[in-house]
Amino acid sequence: MFLKRYLIPRLIQYVLVIVLGITAVFFIPRLLPNDPVLRTIAEMRARGAYLEPGAMDKIISDLQQMYGLEGSLWEQYLAFWGRLFRGDLGVSFFQFPTPVIDLIMTALPWTAGLLLTTTILGWVIGNLVGGFAGYYSNKQWSRVLDAIAMVVRPLPYYIFAFALLLIFAYYLRWFPISGGARLGMRPSWSWPFIQSVLWHSFLPAMSILVLSAAVWFQTMKLVVQNVNAESFVTYAKLSGVKEGRIVSRYVIRNALLPQITGLGLSLGLIFSGALITEIVYSYPGLGTLLYNAIINGDYNLIMGITVFSILAITTSVLIVDLIYPLFDPRIRYM
């Protein structure tokens, strides 16, 4: 029943969303008024290169092939899917001729490592602290935390990140000012490299962690205050259930339900990178890659990163949907 009534339609929906998303990714750049081939030629000319008419035609057809611009729109579309299934996202133009997939795969571990850790840690810390602060909302420490969150949360992220960078990297010089690891180090599982990565990623991680924990804290606190007024909590209190049990198994457990959905969504967003973080800290992740791709008009790369993030978001939403009944027994897929 579950398979036929829920899982299969849900999977069809999943595939459909991906197909539509990727189709949009295919069409939108093609609707733009500028032609990447002509643009490349113009750039070559601007640099003073002289081209023979025959060589010019050869270059144009080569470029069209690399951009997947051969034939009618429909032929291009089919060819695009064909290449996609082979994992071929074309070659990058701003780092010619590295394949897009290689660039993404190099940047992905940096972004995933940074954002996976901070997203999960921020969620855990924010919800735990917010849960207790919501339950004990009359206590002094809870009000202090609330005030801190209220000040921190509305700070524009780029200002906060930049302030951290200025204070701790520029003036105090406790942390490096840019990069993902010491220059010239080869990525490996050796201790010096890991140490260098941790040291370099500390400030970007903190900038994300503090703000995201503040957001989770505030939402969790509100949800907890609502759950606290539910009659099952009143009933447990009036029956003398120990406070520790009430906080953990009654209040926080129920308040976490909407937060789990939120976590799933923010995990999906990881794969489009943390653009501002990576720019501010010159961090070698997907965000920086996307930024460079955009300013250099590298269509293949933009499309590649977008395809990745479509896959990541739809997949994480699917996973949250499928595992949700584990957390809330009232959700049943029949």
Partner: protein
């Protein structure tokens, strides 16, 4: 009056008010005003009244669950524990926590959300049991729960269910079973039959009666449903605007109601064979934040006199077990409830 003191739960001139801070101005909601109760062992005491008359607040005070913004302004609530009267305001938080369920249990209004929606009934039972008795072996709480359910004639397999999988009536039975698990001396029921259909209500009332007959303990039952009171209560207190305006054994309340408000409550009940339209109390209950002077019922009372608008009468004993606070009957006096 027998010489032996059987009073287990007593309030003396109890005033409990909500003190709210509304934009810097204190707002006082006088939910319980001058209530004297003396509830006996092995008795089912019903508290009746319209919505917004302070019934639930009185229950909070009785259950020693007074939390800001609710405050006890004056008077006291005492429990008789092992023959000794104890003022609940002298108890520590932990002492009060221990008393709950073991000595005084609470049965909430039957609604969807009384049981933790994300845990199985067995886990709720375990949480409640393990908070009160130290369990040495795994499964001991479960065994106790099973035994208790069997004793009450409820199916044991409900322990494996989640609350949303049970019917409203079954959920309420589960709640009653849970509340009575540790054989409390006092059970406080806050509208336990409200939100259930009449057939299920009957079953729930019967279950409460059975439990009381077995434990020979005290039930304080609050409901606006006079039919339920007629069915289960030994004695009834009629509450109006935070005061008990009349108190008598159930049959007296129904056969010889004295307070005009009680008259209205009883006359609004449908009767077999009587097709005349039922009359309800004219007007609506007063705001507890802004009570009328004198007797709070005077704006709605058909027999209102001048004195009613100025002063609240004390209690007059119209019979040894029947007291009423109404100027029609007399000036009355206040004293320690028997």
């Amino acid at each position: 009056m027998s010489m032996k003191n059987n009073t287990i739960l007593r309030t003396e001139r109890l005033h409990a008010h909500y003190i709210l801070d509304v934009y810097g101005k204190a707002k006082v909601i006088k939910a319980v005003n001058d209530v004297d109760l003396a509830i006996q062992e092995d008795e089912i005491y019903g508290i009746a009244g319209e919505s917004g008359c302070g019934k639930s607040t009185l229950l909070k005070a009785l259950a020693a669950a007074v939390e800001p913004p609710l405050r006890i302004i004056s008077g006291r609530v005492t429990y008789r524990i092992a023959g000794v009267e104890v003022d609940v305001s002298t108890l520590t938080q932990e002492e009060k926590r221990k008393l709950r369920m073991e000595y005084i249990a609470y049965v909430p209004q039957g609604s969807m959300s009384v049981l933790n929606p994300v845990s199985r009934i067995r886990n709720t039972y375990r949480d409640f049991i393990e908070s009160h008795i130290s369990v040495h072996q795994k499964g001991e709480a479960f065994a106790l729960a099973k035994e208790h359910l069997t004793e009450l004639g409820l199916p044991v397999k409900i322990l494996d269910a989640y609350p949303h999988q049970l019917s409203g009536g079954m959920r309420q039975r589960v709640t009653i079973a849970l509340a009575t698990l540790l054989k409390p001396r006092i059970i406080i029921g806050d509208e336990p039959t409200t939100a259930l259909d009449v057939v299920v209500q009957r079953g729930v009332v019967q279950l409460l009666k059975d439990v009381q007959a077995k434990l020979k303990n005290t039930i304080v039952l609050v409901t606006h449903d006079m039919g339920v009171h007629a069915n289960i209560a030994d004695r009834i207190g009629i509450m109006y605007a935070g005061k008990i305006v009349e108190e008598a054994p159930t049959e007296k309340i129904f056969s010889a109601p004295t307070h005009p408000y009680t008259h209205y409550l009883i006359n609004s009940l449908p009767k077999f064979g009587d097709k005349s339209p039922r009359e309800s109390v004219p007007g609506s209950p007063p705001s507890l934040a802004n009570l009328p002077t004198g007797c709070p019922f005077h704006p709605r009372c058909p027999h209102v006199m001048d004195i009613c608008k100025q002063e609240m009468p004390g209690y007059t004993q119209v019979a040894s077990t029947h007291k009423v606070a109404c100027w029609l009957v007399g000036e009355g006096t206040h004293g320690k409830a028997a």
